[in-house]
Symmetry: C2
């Protein structure tokens, strides 16, 4: 609470006996200062405890070098990306400012506050604003985790098709062939993952054995779907119970695990389960779900690169980052195999 006024560039200039323009040059690391004075100025700046004032810098400079990031507070995974974006942004010479969206604060509000702050480009994590809306923003926009077509905005997302394939190849490798899918119902991305499931089943000659149950985003959806799956297997004339299930996401998979366990089935001995998201939930020790994870560091780095490229005048890029498979304790070879 000591109110000693913070030193300004003029203070440093006076103390070092140079003009403030020169101090500015040195602090920014721009060309036009000799090595000797550069060092002298940096030293006096350090002695005075000088730190450039972001407000003034932002106001004057044509290139604010500020990256605005909008994330959703209700999504735990966004928080992880936020930290990685700080890192990637700062490594690329950008400052990063956050603005949170959520049930009580609209995405538009979040975007506006970043605009008013002078952000040079925006990274929106899983934006709900339609592409047309993004196109109207007066600066380059990168959509993360939600692919966008066309030139409205760049996009950087995880390759979902590759993710489903990773899951299925893993199960195939273990010896499974009766692989079912519990989808996300009407959730965003559910249709694409279901499509990937079908196409992979077809590619490996298992198209006839494909079976999909309607799940959803929540544990309740997963539980419901799992009960349906068990019922179907018990009905005469139906295919035998699948030996493995690929589930839309981790939360839904949790409901599936719960029902399977209560039905007396042992996972993974009787049936293998793969989730999607590799969330904190999946990594809880007593759950330890095999799951597909997004490559966060690469996603963040790609988003920053895409933003920088767009600022440099490039066209909107659309990147897909390959996900990875985290093998947990819910997958194993099927009971029948050696």
């Amino acid at each position: 609470m000591t109110a000693s006024p913070r030193p300004t560039m003029a203070d440093v200039a006076a103390a070092a006996g140079v003009s403030k323009a020169l101090v500015s040059i040195v602090i920014r690391g721009a060309v036009g200062a000799s090595l000797a004075t550069r060092e002298r100025v940096l030293n006096t700046a350090r002695e005075l405890g000088y730190r450039p004032d972001t407000r003034a810098r932002l106001l004057r400079s044509t290139r604010s070098r500020l990256l605005g990031v909008v994330f959703n507070v209700t999504e735990p995974y966004h928080a992880e990306l936020v930290e990685l974006l700080y890192e990637a942004g700062e490594a690329a010479g950008y400052g990063v400012t956050l603005s949170a969206a959520g049930p009580r604060r609209s995405e538009q509000r979040a975007v506006e506050s970043l605009l008013d702050l002078g952000a040079e480009a925006l990274v929106l994590i899983a934006p709900s604003t339609p592409a047309a809306g993004l196109a109207q923003l007066p600066l380059p926009v990168i959509s993360m985790l939600r692919p966008v077509r066309g030139d409205a905005a760049g996009s950087v997302s995880s390759d979902e098709d590759a993710g489903i394939r990773l899951a299925m190849d893993h199960l195939r490798g273990l010896g499974h062939s009766r692989i079912a899918h519990i989808d996300g119902g009407t959730a965003v991305g559910s249709a694409a993952r279901r499509q990937s499931y079908f196409s992979h089943m077809a590619d490996t000659g298992l198209a006839a054995g494909a079976s999909v149950f309607t799940g959803g985003n929540t544990e309740a959806d997963g539980s419901r779907a799992a009960r349906e799956l068990l019922d179907a297997a018990g009905r005469p004339g139906c295919a035998a119970r699948p030996s493995a299930v690929v589930v839309f996401n981790d939360r839904c998979a949790l409901g599936v695990l719960d029902v399977l366990g209560k039905a007396g089935l042992s996972v993974p001995r009787d049936i293998s389960v793969v989730g999607y998201d590799n969330s904190r939930l999946a990594r809880l020790e007593h759950i330890n779900l095999t799951s597909i994870g997004q490559n966060g560091p690469e996603l963040a780095a790609a988003a920053v690169r895409a933003a920088a490229a767009r600022l440099g005048g490039g066209a909107a890029e659309h990147l897909l980052v390959p996900p990875f498979l985290e093998i947990g304790g819910t997958t194993a070879a099927p009971a029948g195999s050696s």
Copy 2:
């Protein structure tokens, strides 16, 4: 991407035929403008699509009315508070800017970036910086979720003692008397909660039956503690198995539930379990843990009030906000009772 330059205050002034000082007065809602012109200026501002530039405002004004918030990206609950702080801050006429701390970005770094941005006061959620460090910051600081003594910083936290009492009163009300505690081991806050447990047991004449097991922050800690609890109950000469357990936090409680279930005990029929935090985890439908929750909206509002009061010259306040009890499916009357 259309680069139409954004209108400034001067543009609005020219269009409305007044001075920019007057526009400033109107936009800020300051006194000194007639109702008629006020309306006229606001109308032309709206027509031009004028939005004040935060950078310039921040730079010039003595009172930036900007609240800096530091939160930890790895803590899901912080995200919830962040959104509530936006709401509470904006309701009180403050802008809110975030800065994330985390394993890869130090709290100090987060604080510095807010200082450079011109924040007027800081709200640190569960800061790791010691009180002495907080005292050195050149602006009012409010520590949330971590009580701080003395005048170094204001603090707003949940009343943990009241929380433990809520849990115990709930169990007592159901008819439990053999109530054990699984603590947080060396985790922050564990000692205080353990102390509350003891003092409440004493207050209700149950001091002799008090028993504490060493838990911790994670499910593994909870599992270990639960096994110990079951072992102790089986040993000759030891007290009977408790009919209820109050656990340090939800994560730890999850491990407890897991072990109890695997040991063939039914929760809540054979034993009741109460967690702490009322986290998303606890609210998962198939877990549905009875838990103590923090009153987030009230915490946020209190933090903003405390910051404003401090800015107004008041001394550092230290507030305790009462938590609430969320009754789930893991508590019931003990088996023996009617």
